[in-house]
Symmetry: C2
């Protein structure tokens, strides 16, 4: 019932959407370029509605969710669509149409990448 088993499906679709952009925040000062890249992801999660949508997809069984399953976040349906698009553009989600419905799925590597960013110390050196 959990989503622990759906994570290994790293298909080589658009690998550049979430590159290993940056070292941990605490390792050394970010360059302008690194900051630009990382900030784009943080920014995407910096809106309450988007965060709820992302969490809803990430926690949904199968690691993916139909829009109809997650669009109850208190804003209009066009707004939901708008935010999902933003999340896609940030490389956090991917979408796929299957018949009537559109399914969104989290890009698994992105969570790991952002998690590393917030690592205290890599215990290096």
């Amino acid at each position: 019932m959990s989503n622990t088993k759906v994570l290994p499906l790293l298909e080589p679709e658009v690998p550049e959407t979430v590159a290993p952009c940056c070292p941990p925040l605490t390792e050394r000062p970010f360059t302008a370029e690194e900051a630009e890249t990382a900030a784009r992801m943080f920014k995407a999660l910096g809106d309450p509605v988007r965060l709820r949508l992302f969490s809803a997809v990430a926690s949904h069984e199968g690691g993916e969710a139909c829009v109809c399953d997650i669009s109850d976040v208190g804003v209009s349906q066009p707004t939901v669509s708008h935010h999902l698009k933003k999340l896609k553009e940030a490389g956090l989600l991917t979408s796929e149409r299957r018949g009537t419905w559109v399914y969104y799925r989290v890009e698994p590597s992105v969570l790991a990448a952002m998690g590393k960013l917030l690592t205290i110390a890599p215990a290096a050196a």
Copy 2:
């Protein structure tokens, strides 16, 4: 030389600035309230300049940095001050004046909290 040893200084100054707000994003859909809280932190890091400032402080020796040491990020001095204020308001940094200079320091627990947010699965149940 690294900042691994300065982390244990969790002084009970303002503990509510970074509460254990939320479970991992992948555990269950965020409530509106959780999303509001977490989004505030993500939003603070969602600007390239702020991210560079935060990274500069976090990676600086001693876990803290004078404004003069980190203000070389390509924007004017008032803008730097403005962003540092935002980071403070988000609970990510604290500041202290010591003589002539003002020192900023990262709130250590905040990194751990945000890191947990991005955990894949807590391996629970």
